[in-house]
């Protein structure tokens, strides 16, 4: 309606002695009608309207006018868009934009840097959330696959223990007993490594799962060689592509022979590697009939009634498992959950690490917040540029540039910056992934969701484009066109802009403070555990074939002959302090009170275990060599177990293996200090039992750790076991692994605190640019009248100083409150002090000082004569 508007205005002036037709109807006519016929059409309608006013009255005339305007909506009256070829204009616009971007390298670098960091942070968080939310969804008919687990309830104390497994025979029983079940399978994950002879080498693998014959009828995998028909016979093994390439350098290995723990298997086929976001993280699958306990999965028929199935399953369980559980003092029922939901359910015994849905929602929100702030900063930077280019835009408008042409120019610039920043953010992510050991494979997550990445990029472009356009259109108003003067933002827009900056300060300061506290806590935990001998304790892993018998004792004697070996202990699985111990059912008989059945953690080791690890004996005595010979068993407990049982005299109690008091009871003979079993947060109740017939680990404490001593140890090991495989780790490594979550949290917080500071700083620089550009006349006049730069800086920086103070007041108490809660989950933790807050403030103030310096330079670069020349 741009061209039509001059006729519209003219009418209002001339038509003052006649009745006016409805204005909106006229505007409608001018909106849709072709400019070349609109004048006479409007004239005719007016003439008719005035005639009708005279003949039929004003009201009816207005109605007829409106109807006539609507009736004129015909093909020959409707305006057609001009057929302009935008391609040459696009090329021209791109060239102009590239030139403009190169002309102001500082502004361009800041914009690209801000956008790159923001996009990289957004992409990583977003795709991490996408990957986590799509756990196990890659299976065909994933919606029909369910996991069945067992929840045990002790009849004595009503304590429930959910277990991630179900009884082994259940899987084979289900398809024939329940009509809803199409197929069911049992999978078993071994805890120890398997020794594999394949190709020309020997390997120790920890991810070889066992499954029954129905596995491939429940879970669909893509086969590289072979197919599921060759699975299901005894002695079959299926490898993943990576493992086949590792053993033979090729994937065409069907029917090749492979030995696992000295049993021969035939390769039934090779399947594609499994994605990261699955619970079935195996490298090979061995065919094995169901064991006592297995991870049970069931494929329901598409039309099956879920509630009916759960009811029938528990009825089946009552008959099939109930009597056995009752015998041991338990009740039990099956828990059924979709395989796609398994990752988010509460963690159970023997479960794999779980995700947290709430945490993922928070991450998703954080990703969108980062994107919004990045977009906001991008628009601000664009705005400061547009203010500088205002006169240029006005001149373009005066010389006939159409609004859409200016819009296209702005969109081209946004697209250009978007593409450059997107490319750089991908490079940044790839570099971070290759330089650091990051568990989450970001690039493969992005590559796996190319369509989503494309849609995301288009969305980002649209949002940023819309923001830039709003910024630019603000400065295309007729007012600007007429006045050729710098237009300033309205107070409400300015307030909003500085408010968002305050929010950025709040987030940055909160993250900086949190990362300072987490770093201190992690360092504290590392210092605390240095008190033991963990950097001198070596843990040798004994291969499965050698675990039983007297190999452990022989190796112990051999090691003790070496001069640099202080002491040696042999122990079963679950004895490594940093790892989760095993557990079983025990009957506890305290003095003068009723006995009870409980699930208790246990560690089986010999009498030197406490000495090797430096665990202090607090009460009673240690195991003695003659305890092996005694009729009466003995047990040592830790402080946490004493606390849990509320024992006043721990040495007066007995713990019996099993559920019946009639079995051989073990007398508590000592109490030892707590060690961080199963996690650094809480001290876990443990009972220690004497064992030397099964040896899964050998703990060796050295007086001097040198490469030559380690070689000598390895030589002694090989002499006894005839094994070339001498697999050991220092206890220190287990602790570091244990602190992995805290380390990851610290790294994530530091990275995001840095990002938040950077994004916030760039945002503030954008705002300073706007503020300097908007107040350029005022500043020029001040400079001419003799104002000094420092006073101008103090006045100009007042707003962001206030934002910073508000942010500090809001953030510090809130962050301290949340971090205090986190710290209290640790048995040993640091106290939040003024030092933490001061450290956070200092690091933030440093970046603020840098920005002040930038502001000072900007003010110093104002040339009063140049800007006041047009006044």
């Amino acid at each position: 309606m741009g061209e039509n508007s001059r006729f519209l205005n003219k009418t209002i002036v001339i038509n003052n002695e006649y009745q006016q037709p409805p204005r909106w109807a006229r505007q409608l006519l001018y909106w849709y009608c072709r400019p070349e016929i609109v004048e006479d059409l409007d004239g005719d309608l007016n003439e008719f309207f005035n005639r009708n006013c005279r003949d039929k009255g004003v009201f009816r005339a207005r109605l007829i006018y409106i109807l006539d305007v609507v009736k004129f909506l015909r093909p020959y009256t409707i305006r057609r868009p001009k057929a302009v070829n935008p391609i040459p204009l696009l090329g021209y616009s791109t060239r102009l934009n590239v030139r403009a971007l190169l002309k102001s390298p500082v502004d361009t670098t800041l914009t690209v840097l801000s956008l790159t960091l923001g996009l990289a942070a957004f992409l990583v968080l977003f795709f991490y959330v996408v990957t986590e939310f799509s756990y196990d969804t890659h299976f065909r008919r994933a919606e029909d696959i369910y996991n069945i687990s067992l929840e045990l309830k002790s009849q004595n104390d009503n304590v429930t223990t959910p277990i991630a497994c179900a009884d082994g025979p259940l899987a084979s029983l289900l398809p024939e007993s329940l009509h809803q079940v199409e197929s069911a399978t049992g999978i078993f994950r071994p805890n120890s490594k398997d020794k594999v002879y394949a190709g020309v080498g020997t390997y120790h693998e920890s991810r070889i799962y066992r499954a029954d014959s129905s596995y491939f009828s429940v879970f669909h995998h893509e086969w590289v060689t072979g197919d599921q028909r060759s699975w299901g016979e005894p002695g079959a093994i299926v490898l993943t592509e990576t493992l086949a390439l590792k053993y033979w350098g090729q994937t065409d290995v069907q029917n090749e022979l492979i030995r696992v723990n000295d049993v021969e298997y035939r390769v039934a086929g090779v399947i594609k590697d499994l994605p990261d976001n699955t619970h079935l993280i195996f490298d090979a699958l061995l065919y094995e009939p169901p064991s006592d306990w297995s991870f049970t999965y069931v494929l329901l028929r598409s039309d099956a009634d879920y509630d009916g199935f759960v009811g029938d399953l528990n009825k089946l369980g009552e008959g099939h498992l109930g009597p056995v559980l009752h015998q041991f003092g338990f009740e039990g029922h099956y828990l059924v959950e979709p395989v796609t939901e398994q990752h988010y359910s509460p963690s159970r015994l023997l479960d794999l690490p779980k995700g947290n849905r709430d945490f993922l929602h928070i991450l998703r929100f954080a990703a969108l917040l980062i994107l919004a702030i990045t977009g906001f900063n991008f628009v601000n930077q664009g705005l400061s540029r547009v203010i500088k280019e205002q006169q240029q835009i006005t001149v373009k408008r005066i010389f006939g540039a159409q609004r859409w042409q200016l819009v296209l120019h702005e969109l081209t610039r946004t697209a250009l910056l978007c593409l450059i920043s997107f490319g750089l953010s991908i490079i940044l992510i790839a570099a971070a992934e290759s330089l650091f050991d990051i568990h989450f494979r970001m690039m493969s997550a992005i590559a796996g969701n190319v369509r989503m990445a494309g849609v995301g990029l288009a969305g980002i472009f649209l949002v940023l484009g819309a923001g830039s356009l709003i910024a630019r259109l603000t400065f295309m108003s007729p007012f600007v066109t007429r006045n050729l003067r710098v237009k300033t933002s309205s107070p409400s827009v300015g307030f909003f802009r500085w408010g968002v900056l305050g929010a950025q300060f709040t987030i940055s300061l909160g993250l900086v403070l949190a990362s300072v506290i987490v770093t201190d806590q992690v360092d504290y935990l590392l210092r605390l555990n240095k008190a033991g001998f963990r950097d001198q304790v070596l843990i040798v892993e004994v291969p499965p074939g050698l675990a039983e018998g007297d190999v452990g004792s022989t190796v112990k004697q051999k090691f003790l002959e070496l001069s640099f070996v202080d002491c040696v202990s042999i122990a079963r699985d679950g004895a490594v302090p940093a790892l989760l111990p095993s557990m079983d059912t025990y009957y506890i008989q305290p003095q003068n009170s009723a006995g009870q059945v409980m699930m208790l953690n246990h560690v089986f080791a010999d009498e030197d275990y406490f000495r090797v690890l430096g665990i202090p004996l607090l009460e009673g005595r240690n195991f003695a060599p003659d305890d092996y010979e005694r009729d009466r068993q003995v047990v040592i407990v830790n402080e946490a177990l004493v606390r849990k049982m509320n024992w006043k005299n721990p040495l007066e109690n007995e713990i019996t293996y099993g559920v019946f008091p009639s079995e051989l009871p073990a007398q508590v003979i000592g109490v030892v200090g707590d060690m961080p079993y199963g996690g650094m947060q809480n001290a876990m109740p443990i009972q220690f039992r004497l064992e030397k017939s099964i040896c899964d680990h050998i703990f060796v404490r050295l007086t001097d750790v040198t490469p030559s001593n380690l070689r000598l140890l390895g030589k002694s090991w090989t002499e006894i076991t005839k094994e070339s495989y001498f697999n050991y780790r220092f206890l220190d490594a287990y602790y570091l692994e244990q602190l992995e979550n805290e380390n990851v949290l610290r790294d994530v917080l530091i990275v995001f605190a840095l990002l938040a500071c950077l994004i916030g700083s760039v945002g503030l620089i954008g705002l300073i640019n706007i503020s300097v550009a908007e107040s350029i006349r005022a500043n020029s006049i001040r400079l001419v009248l003799g104002a000094d730069l420092l006073s101008m800086l103090l006045q100009g920086s007042r707003r962001y100083m206030i934002s910073f103070i508000f942010a500090a007041v809001a953030t510090v108490p809130l962050t301290i409150y949340y971090m205090q809660g986190w710290l209290e989950s640790f048995v040993n933790h640091v106290e939040i002090s003024v030092t933490h807050v001061l450290l956070a403030f200092t690091s933030m103030t440093m970046s603020l000082l840098l920005i002040l310096a930038f502001h000072f330079i900007k003010l110093g670069s104002v040339r009063p004569l140049q800007h006041l020349r047009n006044e």
């Binding site: 003219k10 006649y18 016929i37 005719d44 003439e47 008719f48 009736k71």
Partner: protein, 110 residues
């Protein structure tokens, strides 16, 4: 130029424009037809026909003067072209031929 076949109403509008000579703009054309035929004519219909006849090359148009009653908007005056005249003549001849073939034609109703 599009085909010169015209319909009955188009012929009527073309004839009216020819008859009005220098005063043929849409409102005047409507008034004239209404007066001659006693029919109610819609502005939109006449506009569409005038536009179509111009597109066929039977009429030409030019903008005239603005008047206050028209809200300061100019009139679009139409005049008949040579093609328009020949179309009218051809139509008249066709009708005359048909009239001539009626034996003992009388103006009285049949």
């Amino acid at each position: 130029m599009k085909g010169t076949n015209i319909g009955e109403f188009e012929e009527l509008v073309l004839l009216t424009v020819a008859a009005l000579i220098n005063d043929a703009y849409s409102v005047r054309v409507i008034e004239e037809i209404e007066e001659q035929t006693q029919r109610r004519i819609k502005l939109g219909v006449v506009h569409a026909v005038l536009s179509r006849l111009e597109e066929k090359g039977l009429l030409r148009s030019k903008l005239g003067e603005a008047t206050a009653v028209r809200g300061g908007k100019r009139k679009r005056y139409y005049s008949i072209t040579a093609a328009g005249k020949s179309a009218l003549v051809r139509m008249k001849e066709q009708r005359d031929q048909l009239w001539g073939r009626i034996p003992g034609f009388s103006t009285k109703p049949l």
